[in-house]
């Protein structure tokens, strides 16, 4: 059983095995957030490493006011945003001012025969969503965070988190239905 307080105390004492446990516990969270946020998947592992290095360096500043997972998710989100800004990847998509008018483009209109096909198609559609929609949908469906916690991670009000989440899911549902 992963004991957050114990692991943090051991990492702060320099125990690298405790840090390995921490990485193992949260690598899925970090991996999913970074994967959905950044466009260039080749950078994914380097950015994930940057996140855990920041966690390691700043762990002494963790004040236990939030869950450790919330704190790490925030670091992952901000690292991804910084990476996107540095690589100017946000200009790849020109989102309309009115986000209700997002239209997906589908370069592979083949029939979705299997669940795997559907999952791959869904990922392509998610990649076309605005960054805030992508991160909210990823964080919620990790089953780890409440709306409030997602708001803390992304800096969005709780109401906006819900709106983004519901709107993103509606767009994706419509895209699935259309195919």
């Amino acid at each position: 059983m992963f004991n957050e307080n114990q692991v943090i105390a051991k990492v702060l004492q320099g125990d690298m095995r405790a840090f390995d446990l921490l990485v193992k516990q949260y690598e899925k969270l970090v991996c999913y957030v970074i994967y959905r946020m950044i466009k260039n998947k080749e950078d994914m592992e380097d950015v994930c490493q940057d996140v855990f290095i920041k966690v390691y360096r700043n762990l002494s500043q963790f004040d236990y006011r939030a869950k450790l997972s919330t704190w790490i998710a925030k670091i992952a989100y901000l690292t991804a945003v910084s990476h996107l800004k540095k690589n100017r990847q946000n200009t790849a998509f020109n989102y309309p001012d009115d986000l209700d008018n997002i239209h997906f483009t589908n370069e592979h209109p083949e029939q979705l025969l299997t669940r795997k096909d559907t999952a791959e198609y869904l990922e392509r559609m998610i990649a076309q969503l605005p960054e805030k929609y992508r991160v909210v949908i990823t964080l919620y469906h990790l089953k780890e965070f409440s709306y409030t916690e997602i708001g803390e991670i992304t800096g969005l009000p709780e109401g906006t988190v819900k709106t983004h989440l519901f709107r993103a899911r509606q767009l994706l549902k419509d895209a699935l239905t259309a195919n």
Partner: protein, 141 residues
């Protein structure tokens, strides 16, 4: 039954996987099925995972960064100790012979810019090494 809003269906699915009161064959049922499929796929998460060497590479980077920090610290301590060493040598020579002490001070004074230049070069090289290391990593990305 009237058309249930998309938001209501999503709220039902969030709180309970079985949404009551939806009649079969209606548009609501179709929406519910599609949302259930979507929720299942979203809960599965993206098809990605980190490589087996992720933790090992992470350790290497942390170790390299720590070594650089330790290096700077010890070089700084060595510089301070060298200066203290010069000071102690001068004081000891003062007890032995005033001429020897002033001769020593004159030599140090004569070559002080050389000593400062060599020390500055050493620290600049260390700094550039860590800076270029970081830049190289960014370019590889």
């Amino acid at each position: 039954m009237s058309k249930i809003s998309q938001d209501e269906i999503q709220q039902w699915l969030e709180k309970q996987p079985l949404a009551p009161g939806i009649e079969p064959g209606t548009e609501n049922e179709a929406d519910l099925k599609n949302y259930r499929l979507l929720f299942d796929l979203l809960d599965d998460g993206p098809p990605t995972e980190l490589s087996y060497s992720f933790t090992a590479n992470l350790h290497r980077r942390i170790q390299a960064a720590s070594s650089r920090q330790i290096g700077f610290k010890w070089y700084g301590i060595a510089a301070v100790l060298t200066i203290i060493g010069f000071g102690l040598t001068y004081c000891l020579l003062l007890f032995y012979s005033t001429n020897a002490a002033s001769g020593f001070a004159e030599v140090v004074n004569k070559y002080k810019w050389v000593l400062l230049f060599v020390s500055a070069c050493f620290f600049i090289v260390q700094f550039l090494e860590s800076y270029l290391d970081g830049r190289q990593k960014q370019q590889l990305q």
